[in-house]
């Protein structure tokens, strides 16, 4: 019985992240438009885009290989699995122990690896520019992320997201300088990994500074739908990770019943809304960076993460 319940919750989580992710993107777009005193597209526009794309035929470049056609599925599956292992509304998910936070980051890294390959597959210059910049950004964002994981893991004594969330809820952590540094660094990394302003602009398609959109330029139809859905999932994932680690209140405990789960879902949606608003405000108030200033931005994140870890190492021995 308990196993069936756990399965149900795990399934609910998978569906929840899949269904909510376009909404989050639509919400951020809407808030950004309102901040600019525009009407903006309807909240449900991302769903309509996805459905329209799914129904269209795929136009495949002559020089595309089998890898180009498989990559959207790999990217989508990797991101979806990663997103469904983050405790969103309920901790102690059935399979949450199958990948800890480090493995989660690496899973996203796999998705990115394949996406970068797909940018090179057709043999166009735009794909190459996107891939080469993406791996450059990743080469800084990934170590920064791992340093953040180190800081959090050393504080909570675990790299399991469920355990970490439980630790943060218990209030044992208290206010720590390291955690503040980690939060700041995590936000910076999340911005970079999701290709948001000031690193990349998700709203443009024809600009020489673009990164993510350039990689996916040759995709069309259902493939493009999957790539778009994966980026929406990734945004949701990062907001969920931040929420689960730094705003863990309301998450239903592993023993919780359906009522606790409802509270969990409600608080989760509220957290997503907060995250979306903060992101939109941040994006409207800042200008995009030149691509070669990105290393300085991410280097700062890396140093913050390292500093957080060092502080913990040193304070342990006092």
């Amino acid at each position: 019985m308990a196993l069936i319940r756990d399965f149900a919750f795990q399934g609910a989580q998978m569906l929840l992240v899949l269904l909510l992710s376009p909404l989050l993107t639509g919400f951020v777009r809407k808030v950004k438009a309102r901040l600019l005193r525009r009407q903006g597209p309807p909240l449900l526009q991302p769903y309509r885009d996805l459905i329209r794309l799914l129904r269209k035929e795929v136009v495949l470049a002559d020089s595309a290989s089998w890898l180009f056609r498989v990559v959207p599925y790999i990217v989508f599956a990797g991101t979806w699995v990663a997103a469904s292992l983050v405790p969103t509304f309920r901790s102690g998910l059935l399979f949450s122990w199958s990948a800890d936070l480090i493995a989660l980051i690496a899973l996203l890294g796999s998705a990115r690896f394949f996406l970068a390959l797909s940018g090179l597959d057709v043999g166009t210059s735009f794909g190459g520019i996107g891939s080469s910049r993406e791996v450059m950004i990743a080469s800084l964002a990934e170590p920064a992320m791992l340093m953040i994981v180190f800081t959090l893991a050393l504080t909570a004594g675990s790299t399991q997201l469920s355990t970490m969330a439980a630790y943060m809820t218990s209030g044992e952590a208290g206010l720590r300088v390291s955690l503040g540094l980690a939060l700041l660094a995590l936000i910076m990394v999340a911005i970079a990994e999701n290709g948001r302003i000031p690193i990349d602009n998700p709203a443009t398609h024809l600009e020489l500074t673009m990164v993510h959109e350039a990689m996916a330029l040759e995709y069309s139809g259902r493939h493009l739908a999957l790539i778009d859905l994966s980026s929406e999932l990734r945004l949701l994932l990062y907001v969920s990770v931040i929420a689960c680690l730094f705003l863990p209140w309301g998450i239903a405990p592993p023993t919780g019943d359906a009522a606790a789960a409802v509270v969990g879902i409600a608080s989760y949606v509220a957290k997503l809304a907060i995250g979306g608003i903060v992101l939109a405000v941040f994006e409207t108030s800042i200008a995009k960076m030149r691509v070669f200033r990105v290393p300085a931005f991410l280097g700062a994140a890396l140093m913050l993460g390292l500093l957080g870890t060092l502080l913990l190492f040193v304070s342990r021995s006092l």
């Binding site: 799914l54 129904r55 035929e57 795929v58 136009v59 495949l60 470049a61 002559d62 020089s63 890898l67 599925y73 989508f76 599956a77 990797g78 399979f95 122990w97 199958s98 990948a99 800890d100 493995a103 899973l107 796999s110 690896f113 390959l117 090179l120 597959d121 043999g123 166009t124 210059s125 794909g127 190459g128 520019i129 891939s131 080469s132 791996v135 450059m136 080469s139 964002a141 990934e142 170590p143 791992l146 050393l154 675990s158 399991q160 355990t163 024809l206 330029l217 040759e218 259902r222 739908a225 070669f292 290393p295 993460g305 390292l306 870890t309 913990l312 190492f313 040193v314 342990r316 021995s317």
Partner: protein, 667 residues
């Protein structure tokens, strides 16, 4: 079992003269490579049996020093490395059954190939310093002969020359290390060395000598200079052995000496090893990113992975020095697991590069492209190797790096201050090298196998033969297997860590769903199998649902490229343009990279030009001054060669007097 292993080694050694007898026969390479395949398989099984049987056995042969004989021992550590060596050897022999057919002059390769594998086996089997050093030198020389097999190319000759110098230097360091360890008693038996208790100063000197001696063979920075020259110069199956296996034999030398023979470690040893490991990992991958020769890129990547292994070993030393046996077992297992993993995927990648070289005659990635259409199976196997070496789940490279990270997370419990600062920094370097490795292999695979062909050679490429493909697919399967079922491999390493740090990781294979749990489940766990199943399932479900419910229509057309597709394949991103952003971020500091753009004035017909200037600072600051000094000194000393007989006699007399004086003054 030691005796059985020696029979195998003898069989391999016997193959060398047989291949000379078979010279000229068209079946010579088939005979030699299949015989090597069988013998290495048997040797691998011998290793497997001794590792699982927890047995230790010795054998003594009446060779070597007259009062000593040659001693050999098969214990857990040796058995593990016997498996690594012979798995790589067997795969290389299978690959060579196809690849070796294209060799122009097989007689330059065939006799040395089995001898080389025999040499590596002998190094790990040796149980006294004399046989160890002789086997070590035998291994070096036979591989040197393979490096200069294609000696008509001047590049290879230079590679062979640098390799020979560095190998002799490394052996010299090891010779001094063993000499110091044996001390005045001069007992070269490993047992005697283990029993002796050298002073702290002596062990410090020995440790540094070992780090230099074994490290120069393994390729730690800054002693790596020969490696990217020599590894690509050899035929590809030998490159695979040199990069995938011989560097591991060097790691064996390091582990044997530091963990076993030198006694209990001092705390500062680990700092040295960790710092060297971190720097090696990052420098190796940065060098690799700047390469556009496929095999040289892979060789530099070996340097990176050696760094990762040394980080694991350094952590193990740190924990061992502070008596944290369980943590030491975790770190050591991580390092040794990476030894195994790297030997698999590096061999796989070199096989892929060899297949490409065979089919196109090109090692330069900028002349390749689009090979995934013409060599689909090679491309698939190479892709698996790329994902595995980039430490991405669900493949094996990720598991060993994950274990290393878990070991790093245990290190705040270490009491010493130096380590408190060093370990997080090394963790950051490890993370950086992992991310850069992914970038590097996007480049390696993307530029050579994806896109459109850049030259006619790439257009005319053909899929490689079935033996080579079989070798690559077996290794790919192993990469996945070790990635999704790492528990089996971790458990197999338990006897090794029991022997070296007196503890082992918790038993893994009995856990639910075959998860791996390094310390405790609440701390961390990883299940490659579930991740793999999940990703495969959700990807397939998505594909099925979309094709069934939405649309499965597909139309081929020209590439979009924002409306301005250029038919020339030269407009694609190349290896150097792909690395440009990374070069700008890291290259100015590490390589003094400069880009010089020459733009002719408007109206002029001269072509615009972009020159990229890179400096290998390690070569320029460490090696070139030495080479210049030696050149200068030899030129000065050269006059000694053309003296008259009177002057020679005067010289001899002067030296005699000098020596007598020294003897007279000597207390």
């Amino acid at each position: 079992m030691a005796v059985h292993a020696l029979y195998g080694v003898a069989a391999l050694l016997a193959l060398a003269p047989i291949s000379v007898m078979l010279r000229g026969s068209p079946r010579a390479s088939a005979v030699i490579y299949s015989a090597s395949l069988i013998v290495t398989l048997v040797l691998g099984i011998v290793g497997l049996v001794s590792l699982s049987g927890h047995t230790s056995s010795t054998a003594t042969l009446p060779f070597g020093l007259p009062w000593l004989g040659a001693h050999f021992r098969m214990d857990a550590l040796t058995a593990f490395f016997i498996i690594v060596v012979n798995l790589g050897g067997a795969a290389a022999s299978l690959f060579a059954l196809g690849y070796g057919q294209h060799e122009h002059s097989p007689i330059r390769v065939l006799p040395f190939y089995p001898a080389y594998i025999a040499g590596m086996n002998l190094v790990v089997l040796s149980d006294d310093a004399f046989s160890f050093l002789v086997s070590w030198e035998f291994m070096s020389l036979s591989s040197w002969a393979l490096v200069v097999a294609h000696h008509r190319e001047p590049e290879n000759l230079r590679a062979g020359y640098v390799y020979l110098l560095m190998a002799s230097f490394g052996t010299l360091a090891l010779l001094l290390a063993f000499g110091l360890l044996a001390g005045e008693s001069g007992n070269y038996l490993f047992d005697a060395i283990r029993a002796s208790h050298p002073s702290a100063t002596l062990t410090a000197v020995v440790l540094i000598l070992v780090l230099v001696g074994a490290g120069s063979k393994a390729g730690i920075v800054p002693l790596h200079a020969w490696l990217p020259l020599a590894h690509p110069a050899a035929p590809s199956h030998v490159s695979a052995l040199m990069s995938g296996v011989m560097t591991k034999v060097a790691v064996y030398g390091f582990v044997r000496l530091t963990f076993d023979l030198l006694g209990s470690p001092a705390w500062w040893w680990s700092m040295l090893v960790l710092a060297v490991g971190g720097i090696t990992a990052v420098m190796g991958v940065l060098y690799a990113l700047m390469q556009h020769d496929l095999k040289r890129l892979l060789a530099y990547h070996t340097v990176e992975n050696i760094g990762i292994i040394y980080i694991g070993l350094g952590l193990a030393l740190a924990f061992k020095a502070h008596g944290m046996a369980v943590a030491a077992a975790l770190a050591l297992t991580a390092g040794l697991f990476h030894v195994f993993n790297h030997s698999i995927f590096k061999s796989l990648l070199f096989f892929g590069a060899g297949a490409v070289l065979n089919s196109t005659g090109e090692r330069n990635m900028e002349h390749l492209g689009g090979l995934i259409h013409r060599m689909p199976q090679t491309a698939f196997a190479f892709l698996v190797g790329c994902v595995a070496i980039s430490a991405l789940p669900p493949f094996n490279g990720f598991v060993s790096e994950w274990l290393t990270f878990q070991a790093i997370l245990l290190s705040p419990q270490l009491p010493s201050w130096g380590l408190q600062f060093l370990v997080p920094a090394v963790g950051a370097l490890l993370a950086l090298s992992a991310a850069l490795a992914a970038a590097c292999f996007v480049k390696a695979f993307g530029v050579s196998f994806l896109g459109r062909p850049r030259t006619k050679a790439a257009v005319d490429a053909r899929e490689t033969d079935s033996n080579s493909l079989a070798a690559m697919f077996i290794l790919s399967a192993l990469c996945l297997l070790a990635g999704i079922l790492p528990g089996i491999f971790i458990d197999a390493l338990a006897p090794v860590s029991n022997a070296l740090v007196a503890a082992s990781m918790p038993h893994q294979t009995g856990l639910d769903w075959l998860t791996i749990v390094p310390i405790a489940e609440s701390r961390s766990s990883y299940n490659g199998l579930l991740v793999f199943v999940f990703v495969t399932l959700s990807g397939s479900i998505a594909a099925f649902a979309i094709h069934r419910l939405a649309s499965d229509k597909l139309r081929r057309g020209p590439a979009w490229d924002c409306g301005y597709p250029d038919p020339s394949p030269l407009t694609q991103y190349t290896a150097s343009s792909f690395a440009q952003p990374i070069r700008r971020v890291y290259g100015t500091a590490v390589f003094h990279a400069r880009e010089i753009g020459e733009m002719p004035p408007p109206g002029a017909t001269a072509p615009a030009r972009l020159t990229v200037e890179l400096h290998d600072l390690i070569w320029e600051t460490a090696y070139e001054p030495i080479a210049v000094f030696i050149g200068y000194a030899t030129e000065r000393l050269n006059v000694m060669q053309f003296l008259t007989i009177r002057r020679y006699l005067t010289l001899v007399f002067a030296v005699l007097v000098l020596l007598l004086l020294v003897l007279a003054i000597w207390p």
